[in-house]
């Protein structure tokens, strides 16, 4: 398996913990989970990428879709744990300021609880 995904609830955040490589083959797995969450109008959603070693444009497209779906119902969509390599992909596509990005899951949860 390229990718392992676990969804956990860390009051009040629904955290999608992703581990592995997000590419053309594996990104539909992540998409399926995000679509299910946004169809239920879940908020806030946090996608934790701390264990993601690689993310390509199909992974970015999946995250953009999740963000846009969340924005439709005025939900909050956050990312955390982005490695230096994965951050490069966001920078190259100028998406680094489009997403709400936190260093860790704890920081993201704290930002919501404030």
């Amino acid at each position: 398996m390229n990718l392992e995904i676990k969804t956990v609830y860390i009051d009040p955040v629904t955290a999608v913990q992703v581990a592995g490589e997000v590419d053309l083959y594996s990104s539909p797995q992540l998409r399926k989970i995000l679509v299910a969450l946004t169809e239920k109008r879940t908020t806030p959603i946090l996608v934790d990428l701390a264990e993601v070693r690689y993310l390509d444009s199909s992974g970015l497209a999946t995250l953009i879709e999740g963000l846009k779906q969340c924005q439709r119902y005025k939900g909050r969509f956050m990312l955390s744990g982005i490695s230096e390599e994965v951050k490069q992909v966001f920078e190259l596509t100028r998406l680094v300021n489009v997403f709400e990005i936190h260093a860790t899951v704890a920081a993201a949860v704290e930002s919501v609880s404030k």
């Binding site: 490589e21 590419d23 053309l24 444009s57 190259l92 596509t93 489009v98």
Partner: protein, 142 residues
């Protein structure tokens, strides 16, 4: 003289990780830093993904040839497919101010690599050649 490495894979997205692992090793041999190598790996992966999606329309049993050449001053990566001719005039990065899924692969490739050329093969198929200057002090003596 160039150092040459050729890889032939089926157009199965599961094999992209093999391409990435290979590209990473080649970049290391060519002398690129870890971060620079990860960008080149991304460009090669995006190029292969485009072949799978566009030239082969998602068919997983077709052939992709990838040739890496470490030359005196540059790394050259050549991708050859035998799918439908792609309309080269339509291969363009999309404007980044539009926040929508899709269309970012070409932008990533052109941002990372110094030169990118596309051509159609005679009967069917396409060739893409990407080049990246080697870090100073690296490369193969000619």
């Amino acid at each position: 003289m160039a150092q040459v490495f050729e890889l032939q894979i089926s157009s199965d997205p599961r094999l992209l990780r093999v391409v990435r692992a290979t590209a990473e090793q080649i970049c290391e041999i060519a002398g690129f830093s870890r971060l620079e190598a990860s960008k080149i790996v991304l460009a090669v992966d995006e190029a292969c993904s485009n072949v799978i999606r566009h030239a082969y329309c998602g068919r997983e049993d077709q052939t992709i040839l990838i040739t890496f050449r470490i030359k005196t001053h540059k790394l050259q990566v050549e991708l050859t497919d035998f799918g439908e001719h792609v309309d080269i005039s339509k291969i363009k990065p999309r404007p980044l101010h539009e926040l929508r899924p899709g269309g970012l692969g070409v932008h990533l490739i052109t941002s990372v690599m110094d030169k990118v050329r596309y051509s159609n093969l005679e009967q069917s198929g396409n060739r893409m050649v990407m080049e990246k200057a080697l870090p100073k002090g690296s490369g193969v003596e000619s």
